[in-house]
Symmetry: C2
Subunit: 182 residues, 2 copies
């Protein structure tokens, strides 16, 4: 599967494309940052992010888009901007019918480092190793976007198994209730 | 001037179009709510809001879009959704080159009722009176959207005068500095 990871932000929106399946070596297809000037009007910054994300979707045709889930325990102003940038990324993907998955920062850290409380350096080091890169991607937002994509690829089988189990259970329950009413 | 006011929200996004100038009776051109199902995927809800806002822009061709400025002192989950819905509204307007203005809830309340701490009923009553309606628009989100549009129309002359003063001052300063260098 090919996944576009998006680490949302108004000033720097990290984007990274990873291809592969769980249990096999992964391949980086692209990494970068969509930037908008901090002194520009908010609406125009959102338009610039939309154009940037659209370019990445056009070029890489990902099957999934993984976006960092935004929490508001941090700095208020930053969080609003992050929520707005993430909305644009989700909108671009959903408009094309690409499934969007949200992963929390601790899920992503735990997926690539084994610890939900790993620091940025540790995440960068593991992304470099897992994708067999020469150096950690810069800035950290770009590395985080790749980590999101890796997290999604690795969590997908578990989520699929869970969905299958739920579907099976529902089917059995339906069958059982049909049995009772028959 | 014709202004589309947007009271952003994921479940109910209030929209209202008001036409007029400060100091003259105002006219309501339309009011409504863009709704999305709470159990739908977030990305699909944002797409639905985009489609709804686009319809309002197509139909009413506003010269300005006034959106409520989002703060995060309230409920965390609600605020994230509000920030994301407002991002979509700003994106739609800016993409068309329509200027977007943000007004805080207290600016809007102060504009239409004289008090920044007025309650919803008071805002609804004043919107009804100012637009000469038979009854307050329902739900409250729709009334709030109209209040935003009214606030924008009434604040615009002051903002324009301020901009003119700044422009005049800059021109004088440039002239003065040119004078010195000549």
């Amino acid at each position: 599967m090919r996944v576009l990871g998006v680490d949302p932000g108004l000033t720097r929106c990290g984007v990274g494309v990873v291809e592969g399946v769980a249990g096999r070596p992964l391949t980086m297809r692209g990494v970068g940052v969509v930037r908008t000037p901090p002194d520009a009007e908010l609406g125009l910054r959102l338009v610039a992010i939309e154009q940037g994300i659209e370019q990445w979707l056009d070029e890489h045709r990902p099957e999934f888009v993984a976006v960092e889930r935004v929490f508001s325990q941090h700095n208020v102003r930053t969080v609003m901007g992050t929520a707005q940038a993430s909305a644009v990324a989700m909108l671009c993907a959903s408009r094309r019918g690409i499934p969007v998955a949200l992963h929390t920062p601790s899920e992503v850290k735990a997926a690539v480092t084994g610890s939900g409380r790993a620091d940025k350096a540790q995440v960068g080091a593991m992304v470099t190793r897992l994708l067999r890169l020469d150096a950690p991607p810069r800035p950290a937002d770009a590395a985080d976007a790749l980590a999101l994509a890796i997290c999604h690829i690795w969590r997908a089988p578990a989520q699929n198994r869970l969905q299958q189990a739920v579907a099976l259970h529902s089917a059995k329950a339906t069958h059982a209730s049909k049995g009772r009413t028959a």
